[in-house]
Symmetry: C2
Subunit: 229 residues, 2 copies
């Protein structure tokens, strides 16, 4: 992102609507993530976006609509990033591992998005929470399905839906919390953090303190960016 015209001439350069909308959304995500929904003002968003307030209203509607749109956009981006990262044909543990890597990779490269999604959206009572809870619910369902599927691999009586769902909720929460912790301790690469969570949820403390760790089946390194654990 390189510099704009350094001065604010009072009038912004004329741009097609789609481009402006993108700029505005980027500014909105930035401001919302820093200040939270209520403390963020439309004036500040418009200033960061480099345009005037009426443009905001003309393009994105009310403050609530704007926020909801931000959530939807960032949530979609994240879900897509994870979906792209998951290796769906692999056994359950590898699926989980690849999903975790994708998740932490996304968070690491999109901190503002993560702030908006995790901190802000969940705490506002409006339609946002719904929007967000919905996506979070889909993530949980996905993990729950993975868990149920895992137990099908074995001869164990298959876990109840409630049981799987609650475990999935715990896992998703662990991921969220660990992502937050990571933002405060960013010195470690995404892969290390992801591996740690993988070990926790797959092996459990009981095995970990006994020295047993999980590791991915050794194969050729992943095709895209190679973070090592």
């Amino acid at each position: 992102m390189h510099a704009e015209q350094p001065v604010r001439p009072g009038r912004a350069k004329r741009l097609p609507r789609a481009v402006r909308e993108r700029q505005i959304m980027d500014a909105a995500v930035d401001v919302f993530s820093r200040l939270g929904f209520h403390a963020a003002s439309m004036d500040e968003i418009s200033e960061v976006a480099g345009i005037s307030k009426p443009m905001l209203y003309a393009y994105l509607g009310s403050k609530e609509e704007l926020f909801a749109t931000c959530i939807r956009r960032e949530a979609t981006r994240m879900m897509e990033a994870i979906a792209n990262g998951v290796e769906a044909e692999e056994p359950p543990d590898v699926q989980l591992w690849s999903g975790l890597r994708a998740f932490f990779g996304f968070v690491g490269e999109n901190r503002a998005s993560w702030q908006v999604l995790h901190r802000q959206a969940s705490s506002q009572g409006g339609p946002f929470a719904e929007e967000l809870a919905d996506m979070r619910g889909r993530a949980i369902s996905l993990v729950a399905a993975l868990l149920v599927h895992s137990s099908d691999f074995t001869n164990v009586p298959r876990a109840g839906d409630k049981e799987a769902e609650s475990l999935a909720a715990a896992l998703v929460g662990a991921g969220e919390s660990l992502a937050d912790w990571w933002l405060d301790n960013p010195e470690e690469p995404a892969g290390v953090v992801a591996a740690r969570l993988m070990n926790l949820v797959w092996m459990g403390f009981g095995d970990l303190v006994a020295g047993d760790v999980w590791h991915p089946p050794s194969r050729r390194p992943a095709p895209d960016q190679g973070e090592d654990a």
Copy 2:
């Protein structure tokens, strides 16, 4: 015609300061938990508390001070509940188990407190987040210490501080998330939910899908309420 007891006589009965302060705090926790910090208005809190707004300011100071005080009070209550529940002389797994039971027990009986602590406090940028993050940090440190201590039980090289801390963050997050899930699916008793998380973090999915579960060493039932898993 002598006066009945109308609901709001316009003037509240005279009460000693300490009692009023308690009432106000209870009302504040209630309103903050339902509406969040910003959407809650001092007018509504004073109405719920059954007194007028200037009393709020006279006793508890500004809105921010009031909120911070709420957080501190509820956080302290929760930490005490957990500290009382933990069986400190037992082996690590039993300590964790008793802590989890105490935690879910508290959440189940203090939903408003939990809402204020978990949802509201963390999302406001002010001194609250600090207050709350501080307590959360202490909880994480506690768990981290427990983990480090666990590995001392074995001959495994002891886990690094960072490693233990991040795992503790994940565990705390899992607990928080599961507590939220539980609020939406309240039909199960606290003990069952706690046991599920215990199994997840101690055994791991790997063992669980293979049919191995953790269970508490069978001893006399716990002295207080006996929830069975």
